[in-house]
């Protein structure tokens, strides 16, 4: 009977102030969508770092006038360096072969280049790609080196863009969350006001605090849960429509977002939505339903 009473109160409560309830659910869902997107992006960047950092190498380009002893000295220095996992020498001819493959669609461009115009290089893979700066400093002083290029520098720009998108999503999530919290607080105040007579009688006859507060808290939790489900649907639809559809090309360059990760957002969003609403409602009640 008590459960039925409480559930009934929740439904009546949500319906009593339906415009406010809808506003609460919408802001909640937008906020949670942003939160979900930023968490997904975070996981994505992490995954991409693992993927690409395993592949990338440091290229040490040699000068055109490099001498045989200089090349041998560099080769030895790389081999002796404890930071290095593996190395590979690439001659001018090999560089030209690769060049021909990469630019096979532009034969005119290939014609203008001879093997001699490309530098020979060492392709070095580091045990820990983060140690690039140390490694470069150690090598730079050697004779015969034209340039040291870290592919990570290029990726870093991509990741920087991702990071700023993520921060932006988090900021939007935070602002929307604040709006959602205020709406939850307001809805609870209105609910408490419209039930003030009942609450006064309940206090008078000694209804327990949880019994008085439960309908209000559950009302907020229900709205939070609906909001989180909507947010999840938003997220899933935009993933399917944008990344799997319109932006397919981009997805091929980036590593794909596994559906499992997206599904993982459902319990996360539901948990955050329900918990935040419950705490807000409870705190609001502490002020408006002095027992």
């Amino acid at each position: 009977m008590r459960l039925k009473y409480v559930l009934n109160e929740v439904l009546v409560g949500l319906w009593r102030n339906v415009t406010m309830t809808v506003a609460m659910i919408i802001t909640m869902s937008v906020s949670l969508t942003m939160l979900g997107a930023s968490v997904l992006l975070y996981m994505q960047v992490d995954q991409m770092k693992n993927f690409y950092y395993g592949e990338i190498e440091v290229s040490i380009f040699l000068r055109d006038d490099v001498t045989e002893p200089q090349r041998a000295a560099i080769d030895q220095a790389i081999a002796a360096n404890p930071l290095v996992e593996s190395k590979q020498y690439e001659s001018k001819q090999q560089a030209f072969d690769k060049f021909q493959v990469i630019w096979r669609d532009s034969p005119d461009f290939i014609k203008s280049v001879t093997p001699d115009s490309l530098p020979e290089s060492f392709r070095v893979k580091l045990k820990d790609p983060e140690q690039y700066a140390t490694f470069a400093d150690q090598m730079r002083s050697m004779q015969g080196i034209q340039d040291i290029v870290d592919q990570r520098e290029l990726l870093k720009k991509v990741f920087d863009i991702f990071n700023s998108i993520q921060v932006m999503a988090l900021v939007v999530a935070g602002v929307m969350a604040l709006a959602a919290l205020l709406l939850v607080g307001n809805t609870i105040q209105v609910a408490a006001y419209s039930k003030r007579r009942e609450v006064a009688v309940m206090k008078l006859v000694g209804a327990s605090n949880w019994f008085i507060q439960a309908p209000f808290v559950l009302e907020a939790v229900a709205a939070g849960l609906i909001g989180s489900i909507l947010g999840f649907v938003f997220l899933f639809v935009s993933k399917v429509a944008l990344l799997d559809g319109r932006l397919q090309a981009l997805t091929n360059v980036l590593t794909p977002i596994p559906n499992g990760n997206v599904w993982l957002m459902l319990p996360l969003l539901a948990g955050v939505g329900a918990l935040v609403s419950a705490v807000t409602a409870w705190v609001t009640l502490r002020f408006y339903l002095r027992v």
């Binding site: 009977m1 009473y5 209804a207 327990s208 027992v291």
Partner: protein
Amino acid sequence: MIQLENVTKTYPKASRPSLDNVSVGIEKGEFVFFIGPSGSGKSTIIKLLLHEVAPSNGKVVVNTKDVTTLRSWKIPHFRRSIGCVFQDFRLLPNRTAYENVAFALEVIGKTKAVARRVVPEVLELVGLGGKEHRYPHELSGGEQQRVAVARAFVNRPLILLADEPTGNLDPDTSIEIMRLLDRINRTGTTVVMVTHDSNIVNQMRRRVIEIESGRIVRDQARGVYG
């Protein structure tokens, strides 16, 4: 049953205490009037007994429990042993007489079956038999107060507190309500009533405690308003 020991209550920002070092004992089954002019502090006594406010100083013991040290989560349960009636009835306007009384039972966890058995009985007791399904606005003031009394009494509390229960009623109706409270008192329930209705006090001839500016100035076993 009720024991106030050197109780002082000063509300925040008040220049003088509402109750100033008041000590009084009330036995089980007594019927006690607290009288005095407005602002003398008599309503504060009701609030202290319900633990709606805590005393600034001193000790309040109700039903062998020291209310002052009661943990806040125990207050609801404590209040179930006290019934309360007010000048403004405090009924729920969108519920019938029956539902108003049943509500008080249901929110403390009693089943509907219990309510079906107990509520008609107590409505009969207060003289509202046949009017169970009227809404408050369909009842007279006296009848509404009877519903309130029924709600206060339905749990068979040990103590019934009444804060100017006749304040909104005409003299004849007031006397009927007093007869009802007297009947409840005869079942062994301690009744504490705050009033400034001299007529009623003089007719009842019960213990009268007069308060003025927060102090007890008179405590008389079979008193009159004076």
